[in-house]
């Protein structure tokens, strides 16, 4: 093994301020902690290792097998599962397309809608507080409840949407039964479900903006749009960052909402990655489902990272 000359020189000629034995210095350090304290993270590390690290590593291993989930026998298939997902499985690529479309729709609509709500309800008046509670209310419902409420709303025969529309002579159609529209209707449900929650994040951000800035802007003659563009938007950027990232991950994982509203398995028009993985798993293709899960994980990470870069919500290098 070779040693870099510079390194060797450094070892031979330590700086005059560097003691000969650093270990001794550590022992003498006034900030030295009792080594037993290093055991304190053990329970957390054990839980994370068992429930997070181990399954994740296992997923990587399963992803290169054709294991069906229950047999003792399996074969290693290399990257075949990954290749199949992108080149030979139109159900997977359809779910991927649906998912990206769904995420895009929900992120834009939910971010805009929750920001508008927050701007309207920032003041701590009695009416605002009541309305905030009202808009926040769907958040505390379970996904399955929300799914069933909206499944009924969208029912073309007895549902609320068509019942109301029929009073003015309009037939709203099949809603979830229309493959071209179904995903948009579920996106409406998702936005209704979570906008109140994101509104709270925005309100916290808006209330932290110093009022003096708006006063100064008004004195300088700035109109409302200019105030929003130059003060509000830059100051709520951290909140936007949270809202966008959270909404993205949430929309990627709208598993329970989709299954509740569209049934199991959902039809192709409503299939997203998480439901596709579940279907593959239920179809006794465990190895392939693991490969799909890894693609899913990478996709969420990539989209979230791209969003933060494209929206310039975090400085370069963070």
């Amino acid at each position: 093994m070779s040693i870099h000359p510079g390194t060797a020189a450094k070892r031979k000629a330590p700086d005059s301020h560097t003691p000969a034995n650093p270990a001794k210095v550590r022992r003498r350090s006034p900030t030295r902690v009792n080594p037993a304290l290093y055991l304190f993270p053990l329970p957390a590390v054990a839980v994370i290792a068992f429930f997070l690290v181990m399954p994740t590593l296992q997923a990587f291993q399963y992803a290169i097998t054709d294991w069906n989930g229950f047999s003792a026998a399996f074969n290693y298939v290399g990257l075949d599962n990954f290749i199949r997902a992108f080149t030979k499985d139109s159900l997977f690529t359809n779910a991927l397309t649906n998912n990206l479309k769904f995420v895009l729709l929900v992120v834009i609509a939910q971010t805009a809608f929750s920001l508008v709500l927050a701007l309207l309800l920032t003041k701590n008046s009695r009416g605002s507080i009541l309305l905030r509670a009202l808009f926040f209310f769907p958040t505390i419902l379970s996904s399955v409840s929300v799914a069933f409420i909206w499944k009924f709303i969208y029912d073309p025969n007895f549902g609320l949407a068509n019942t109301v529309l029929r009073t003015v002579g309009v037939d709203g159609g099949a809603y979830l039964g229309n493959d071209a529209q179904a995903l948009y209707w579920v996106a409406v449900t998702q936005v209704w479900f979570h906008s109140g929650q994101m509104m709270v994040v925005y309100i916290a951000g808006l209330q932290a903006i110093p009022k003096e800035l708006y006063e100064a802007a008004e004195m300088d003659g700035a109109n409302k749009w200019q105030q929003f563009k130059s003060i509000t938007w830059p100051f709520v950027a951290p909140a936007t960052s949270i809202v966008v990232a959270y909404t993205t991950v949430q929309s990627f994982k709208a598993f329970d909402l989709i299954l509740g509203i569209a049934g199991n398995p959902p039809k192709a028009a409503l299939d997203i990655l998480s439901t596709r993985i579940y279907s593959t798993f239920a179809n006794s293709e465990f190895g392939y489902a693991a490969a799909q899960s890894i693609i899913f994980m990478a996709m969420i990470a990539l989209v979230t990272w791209l969003q933060r870069r494209l929206l310039r919500l975090t400085p370069k290098g963070d």
């Binding site: 080594p35 037993a36 590390v45 291993q61 399963y62 073309p156 549902g159 037939d171 979830l176 199991n264």
Partner: protein
Amino acid sequence: MSQISRRQAVALLGAMGFGAAAAACAGPGGSTKPGGATGPAAPSTGAVTGKVSFAHWRGEDKAVFDELIKRFTAKHDGVEVAQDISTSNDYNAQALQKLRGGAIGDAFATFRGAQFKNFTEAGIYTDLKDSQAVKNYQKGLLSAGQNGDSQLGLPYQVVFPMPMANLDLFDKAGADTAPKNWDAFLGMCEKLAAAGVIPISWPGGDVGNGGQLFNCMIANNAPVDDMCAQIEQGKLKCTDDWFIRMLNQYKDLKPFVQPNATGTAVEPAQNLFSQGKAAMLATGSYHLAAVRSLGAKFPIDLVFPNTTSDGKGKYEGAYNATFILGVNSASKNQAAAAAWIDFLSEPENAGYYANQTAQHVSVDKVEYTNPDLKRLSPWLQKKTALAARFQFNNLDVRNAVEASATAVISGTSPEQAAAAAQKIVDERL
């Protein structure tokens, strides 16, 4: 207690991490495979005592099973039976993993088709061919639970996945409940429509229930009885003439199903039928109890959409033998679980289950007292086809093939719908 050093603490954490990584790298197939190595054995015998977990998906039958459990425990001192109920979809997806350990589902039920096949491959079943229970069943209805020489499960229910008919509305419209061919069936629908009712309530928004009509539509159209298995194996294609002919018949049905049928879930479809707004409910006899509970008071019979042009079809209807009862090979209490299955299979208890849940059973010598079951009993003697959709072992293939029918009802051409389905099939060959 002596203190540990920082180095020891780090080494301990490192060892844990290494252990986790090593454990994660254990081969996926290294887990237990109950009963698989030596083939299925009969359930072990012994005292009928202890706790029995009975896993199934029929939440609507819980009260009936509770009553049967009460009778069973009165007969056997010291035994307890607890029902472990999941929704049918969850049961389909998760039951295998849950039952493998043996902690849940000493006795259990499975669907016919893919689930039965997977359970068989996983070695979950014991062999019931020598059991007391098997002697009580009608021989011709046991095949869905057989694998080779073994009787792994006992198909408990017989259901007819055929449209249910409101006989009052049929009488009012002067429509025949036994159309001899496809034209006669369409004529019947026209008469019902002319009488001001929706001829067919079809839950096209529900994959599972909407797909039941497929069993009737394909029965006489396909050239062979194992048509769905052959589609899955690539021997038959969705683009074949016979399949396109069937999709064209679905197209014929479009004017006779309720508006926006592809967005209708099963509950609203049941309501249309129960409220007398629709003359037929295109699901099956397994919804008898549900429509009665929704207030349907009218007499109900079944209608077979006869797809033949000359009335010379091989089949007069469709049936399914399902809710396949089994004893878990991983169970620690097989004796009591087997006794519970024996008990359910006794004609008296099977009769109680049938009459209370409005479902026929495969058990012989059962007396049907439920008026609906009595009326539908002649269908047990007719030449009916075993529901074809359960031949599919790959659920993606099944959903794609059935979705072609839904696509046609929503306006896609039969040729396009068939090609889209075949693409999914081809990808899975």
